[in-house]
Amino acid sequence: MSEQLSYLGVPLARPKVGFFELSSCEGCQLQLLNNEATLLDFLNLVEIVNFREGMSERADTYDIAFVEGSVTRKDEITRLTEIRRNAKILVALGSCACFGGVNQLKNRFRDLEWVKKEVYGDFPIETMEVHPLADFVQVDLSIFGCPIKKEEVERIVTDLVVGKTVRHPEYPVCMECKANENICLFELGEPCLGPVTRAGCDAWCPSNRRGCWGCRGPAETANLTELEKIMHTYGFDSETILDRLECFGGFASFADTLRPKNIAELSSLPAQTKLIPSGCKKVPARRKKP
């Protein structure tokens, strides 16, 4: 296991890798165990020193820290800062870490007290507005997706080991969707965020005849104004658009611009729930280089 790695005669360091989770479903970490066919090769390429979900041993220094989940409590900020301090490369693993993920849907409500009460009644449980990692620490690399795609992670890890720069596709999902020869879901009468969402998932959802919900966040060229027009042309209301755009937090700022138009339509809600334009808001300059 500990033989020196090399590629084309160039010696390579086997990175010490740690996996950590903040508020999340732990699915992204699980995806790594889900690569049965290549798991052993993967384990040969890196040295896993911290993986609470899978092992008892722990270590405090690592070259690469994969952090899953978003920040929803103060103690998580502390943990995150500590991980950042110990890691050479901090990777935001999955949409929760990158944009807040589904967790940030909670931020739709102005009244956090109402949120707590709705779920825990009179029992106070500490929580705060949901934030992606980058609001608190420097993130060196993002791996998008809810869930992440294991092939992509493997490729990224191999690239890191051989020293290649990790590049994400800059174009939208439609590109991969067409390459899978799907008939566009808009033609079939279903909404899809493929035209604005960053590719790299190989059009996972559209290929399964399910519209894209934008879990990978915006493509480099996301033309959201045009998408909104298209959605309306194809007969989808603002709410359907908003549901998708706000789901994972990647499009937060654009979703915000849609939301005010929408409050009227949502007036059937219980009185406590004041909907505000939010998504993951940036907190001022707490971001620090370790």
Binding site: Q31, N34, E36, G54, L105, V115, T127, C205
Partner: protein
Amino acid sequence: MKLSCEVNVHHLTRVEGHGNIQISIKNGVVKKAQWEVVETPRFFEAMLVGKHWENAPYICGRICGICSIGHTLASIRAVENAFGITPTTQTANLRLLLKHMETLQSHILHLYFLAAPDFLGAGSVLPLATTHPEVVQRALRLKLLANDACDIIGGRRLHPTRTVVGGFTMLPEKGELEKIRQRLLASVPDLLASAELFKTFAIPDFSRETEFVSLKGDTSYPFIGGGLVSTDGVVKKEDQYRAMTNEYCTQGFTSKLSKLSRRSFAVGALARLNNNFPLLHPTAREISEFLGLVPVNHNPYMGNVAQLVECVQVVLDSMRLIDTLLGSPWQEPRQQVQAKKGEGVGAVEVPRGILYHYYKFDTDGKVIKADCVIPTSQNHANILHDIEALAGQYAKTGKQDREIELLAEMLVRAYDPCISCSVH
């Protein structure tokens, strides 16, 4: 003899989510025996409020990464019950098959990657790759099979893409199903070998009288929907789930807790098996007996064995389901959905126990109220009381801290708790 002991496990490993164990024994007297859940809540039930029904399965599936399929199916069932939709036989069969494959993958993951290292004296599965390569290979083979099947039926093994209210967006190819069937058949020797392996493990001798809650099958071992039952004789309907779970909050827990006839109850593979033993496939029953598991068994460590028996059960039942599916031509994958005002409950047996989703909709089909009761939150109180009893049983035996710590850790792991999902 040393009669004092301090166990302090911060963020227990090899479980999903964050929990702490604390045991303090002074001169043979248990001062403290605690199970704490410190996971951060994500407030899914609030998130859903005001959302259109179609969001519910999509968002709620993301409560849990391990049993996302179960969550999605429970959520879909709740919506369908609220709207008065009955799934077609084809949809029901496909869903059950998908559910089975999730059960298989989750149980195998737990048995081999999370539990087995304890019995084989390793810190994780990693060293086992060198010391017990055949064991690891076998686990990977079974897991791969289950995961591939989930991909084929649900579109993806985690957070499925094809499962929607009304049915499926898309159907699997028959040829692919046929291949899965062949692989299932070929996996039987691996399951038998697993049984042989677990037979060699020394299951700790511990027992505490417990109430077990699960779905009750009529003619088949239950996984999706149906009546609720407990070993203490409580019988309820699916939509009376609140009377079964009686959730409450307490200090030291970010998860809610549950109780029924006693201070706590247990759900999960052992509960299912205790309540539905006669409905097991004869072969699964035989293996259960071979491993010394007959109902009603009150040793929580036997949870592992129950999971293994269920692996056999789902593999055999999946082959039957595939035969049925292959036996008739494909029907429309998806029914029309008409939203309406009302409420609905979906109860599904996920790997760790019974899971309930409940939604109330307004006339536009928007969620007014959501409630999800997750198996591990039902188990927490029971885990806590088990730990107390465990500490009591070993307080005077003079075991080393590390031994008690390990027993406590193994106890919690035997519940295969999914803490992140219990605190959702």
